[in-house]
Amino acid sequence: MSENIKTKVAELLSSGQIKGFLGLRSNEGHIGPYLFTNEAELDSLVVGDWKNRGDSRYPLNKCLINIACKYPEDTFGVLVRGCDERGLKALYTWNQLNPNKVVAVGIACPQELADACECLKPYPDECVDDEKAKACEQKAVSSIDALAIADRFALWIREFTKCVKCYGCRDVCPMCFCKECSVGSDDLIHTGQLPPEMPIFHLTRAVHMIGRCIDCGLCNEACPADIPLRTLYKKVADIIDKEFQYRPGYTDAKSPLNVL
């Protein structure tokens, strides 16, 4: 799979269509984000497999925003899975990235990764490989839906009790681009307190994921307390889909809540 990407990226770089390609590199025994600017470096390009398939995914869209802010006139390529592509589409609608300045190079996720993520669309619209994994059932959400209300409460409070308030869920999120953030505002949630006010801190963030969350799960992976944040935001996405027939990143349409 990475051979196809390398070929594609080499083309893009040599033809001058892109200034650089934001992907993942294996270097010094680690995998991390890297901006490839010449073909010779492409040997070290990887798709983020470490111990398991795709377990070294990174918020590349977030890196891309940093670069685009500084160099808005240049075009960059970026490695995208299904979730990353949803992120790009949503970021375009929020005017955080310019679609004319981004070239997405897509890869489909293997079924085991799609299953682990319970992903609804584990592949981008266009990708370098043919085999696409099937969409998955949302078991994590339905298993909580099936609990008695008191058990649900106990479960979430047990999880929120562990929060160490690193803000990693927000800091890693490709869709969290606001300069002023509600979860950091002392008016809404007392700052300086561990654990942060329960369940206000997490519900406030969940509400802000309405029309935003593209279900990449990076928040879940970044959480030092292993709080199942992805499940919480999946539920939010389900509710919005039911009410407004809208899932961010699955169409080019703007969020019904987007007033920009």
């Binding site: 909580i144 209300i149 058990d151 409070i157 519900l203 919480l232 539920k235």
Partner: protein, 57 residues
């Protein structure tokens, strides 16, 4: 409302504990009545799991 109610319910808080209604600032009696109604409703629901949890902590 349509979003918040299922969300708090997912987190184990009864949806009936959340109530919104638009009332003009000119309609003071209406406002008071609404509050009374909601207070009665919440009393019937009994103590909130949040309060119980805080006490336990």
């Amino acid at each position: 409302m349509n979003v918040m109610r299922p969300l708090i319910e997912f987190c184990g808080i009864e949806a009936e504990r959340l109530h919104t209604r638009w009332i003009s600032s000119a309609e003071a009696p209406e406002f008071a009545e609404e509050i009374h109604m909601f207070v009665e409703k919440v009393k019937k629901l009994g103590p909130s799991p949040l309060g119980r949890q805080k006490k336990a902590a």
